[in-house]
Amino acid sequence: MIRVVLPQHLRTLAGVDGEVLLAVDAPVTQRSILDALEARYPMLCGTIRDHATRKRRPLVRFFACAEDVSHESPDAPLPDAIARGDEPFIVIGAVAGG
């Protein structure tokens, strides 16, 4: 199972505590994880990716294995440790604002 860490506000919206576990078919990519996440938690549609363009919202970042992969292609395979579930895919809100 893929492990996904969501920021507090999105955990509240989705009604979950802690990490989210998702079944995702290979290849495991940003897009395949987010598609599975939105299918499981439809209230998150539009909160991470824009409803219309499906692009990452500007103040949301993606971390994988201690790397910021926000600017990688959404179809690039993520590290094996993410695909195996050893490491979580982290969705994080940028530190900004008041």
């Binding site: 920021p7 507090q8 506000h9 999105l10 919206l13 009604g15 939105e38 299918a39 499981r40 938690y41 439809p42 209230m43 998150l44 549609c45 539009g46 909160t47 991470i48 824009d50 409803h51 219309a52 919202r57 103040l59 949301v60 809100g93 940028a94 900004a96 604002g97």
Partner: protein, 403 residues
């Protein structure tokens, strides 16, 4: 006895304040949607248990929330819990896999061939043209007649409508697609459609206001729109009497006189007696005619309220004194209302959606400040008292009178 429910949107959540008809002892519930910006929440006049709320964040975008029990519990109408993945599955009739998609949060400009309104551009701060980009819902206006019909005013300026209780939204694209659209430009707060006034006697007639484009009216339910800004004079645009470009802050009317409109413009308090076709200034003896909210007494159509603010460069009250001004003559002659309001060292602002009136007799007047206070006057403005003092900055105040 009647119950009063005050719906307060703030920078960090929503609060619901309730009292009986004396409006003296208040219960405070909240924060709801803690940590999110709640630009506006408003109850349906047709069903006071139905409340719509606009929840948004710069990080995570727009969420529409709906309550069917007067604000005790909330749901996203496009993704009710029973539609979550546990209940998703194959539709036996069509073979299609059914999955809810968060449609209630989806505000996408209508660029379909049917409307013929491609995504155009508007004027950006540097004078170049900039494409429309959805940012947030500023104002939700439920229909006076049907709890499932609600309008949403959004940034970048456009009007959306839902006829299914907020589950799905459709743009009334004739407004954004108006030929003057390329001349619209954002005010400092963004290019927002912040005011929606529905004529209770004529569902085809809607007034809206946009910063900084001006006021518009439709007489055909939103298909076609006309700018209604004749008589407005704005020194900050090259042609002060231009058809569009005016920074209208708020429009209000009394439901019994839908042709008489009152406007707080960036500067100037204005009045129209012909449904917005022409406007004239009624600032009269106000100490300053800059401000944001304007509202009308529930039982006296010529009694109106504003909160004068020193200037557009200094968004606080003149002389550090928080004063509501009341006119009982529909403008021109104004009196300061100060009893119970701070009369020294007060430098808060009152935003455009942060004033409301109840329907009791005597009429209650309410407003919230950027300092987190919500004030009530149970006697039409003669005396005031704070309901709460220390909320996050208040963005909007609405009142429900429940009998």
């Amino acid at each position: 006895m009647a119950t009063i429910r005050v719906l307060v949107g703030t920078r960090k959540g929503a609060f619901i304040l309730t009292a009986d008809g004396k409006r003296k002892d208040w219960k405070v519930s909240g924060p709801h949607f803690a940590g999110w910006e709640i630009y506006h929440l408003k109850g349906s006049p047709a069903d006071p248990d139905r409340i719509y709320a606009s929840q948004s964040s710069s990080w995570f975008g727009q969420v529409i929330q709906r309550s069917n029990d007067g604000g005790k519990t909330w749901e996203q109408p496009g993704t009710p819990r029973e539609d979550w993945v546990e209940n998703a599955g194959m539709n036996p009739d069509t073979g299609e896999f059914v999955m809810p998609k968060g449609e209630s949060n989806k505000f996408v400009y209508d660029t379909s061939p049917e409307t013929g309104r491609p995504l155009t551009t508007h004027q950006w701060y540097d004078g170049t043209q900039h494409p429309w980009e959805f940012k947030r819902v500023w104002h939700l206006e439920p229909s006076p007649h049907d709890p499932d019909v609600v309008y949403a005013g959004v940034e970048d300026a456009a009007l959306f409508k839902s006829t299914d209780g907020g589950k799905t939204w459709r743009e009334l694209a004739g407004l954004r697609g108006h030929e003057s659209g390329p001349q619209w430009q954002p005010g400092a707060g963004g290019m927002c459609l912040h005011t929606i006034v529905l004529d209770p006697n004529d569902p085809e007639r809607i007034f809206v206001a946009i910063s900084a484009a001006g006021a518009f009216r439709t007489d055909d339910g939103g298909k076609t729109w006309r700018p209604i800004n004749r008589g407005l004079v704005s020194q900050f645009i090259p042609n002060p009497e231009a058809e569009v470009g005016h920074c209208v802050h708020r429009i209000a009317f009394h439901p019994s006189r839908p042709d008489t409109l009152f406007m707080q413009k960036h500067w100037d308090v204005m009045r129209s007696d012909d449904g917005g076709a022409t406007w004239y200034e009624v600032s009269g003896n106000l100490p300053t005619d800059f401000g944001f909210p304007i509202d009308v007494h529930a039982h006296e159509p010529e009694t109106i309220y504003v909160v004068p603010i020193k200037s557009d460069s200094e968004h606080y009250p003149p002389d550090g004194k928080l004063r509501v001004y009341r006119s009982r003559t529909g403008g021109h002659e104004w009196e300061p209302l100060t009893k119970g309001l701070p009369q020294e060292n007060c430098y808060v602002n009152v935003l455009r959606d942060a004033m409301a009136v109840d329907l009791l007799d005597p009429c209650g007047i309410y407003f919230g400040t950027t300092g987190g206070q919500v004030y009530v006057s149970p006697d039409s403005g003669d005396t005031w008292a704070p309901i709460v003092r220390d909320l996050p900055p208040v963005l909007s105040v609405e009142v429900q009178t429940i009998r």
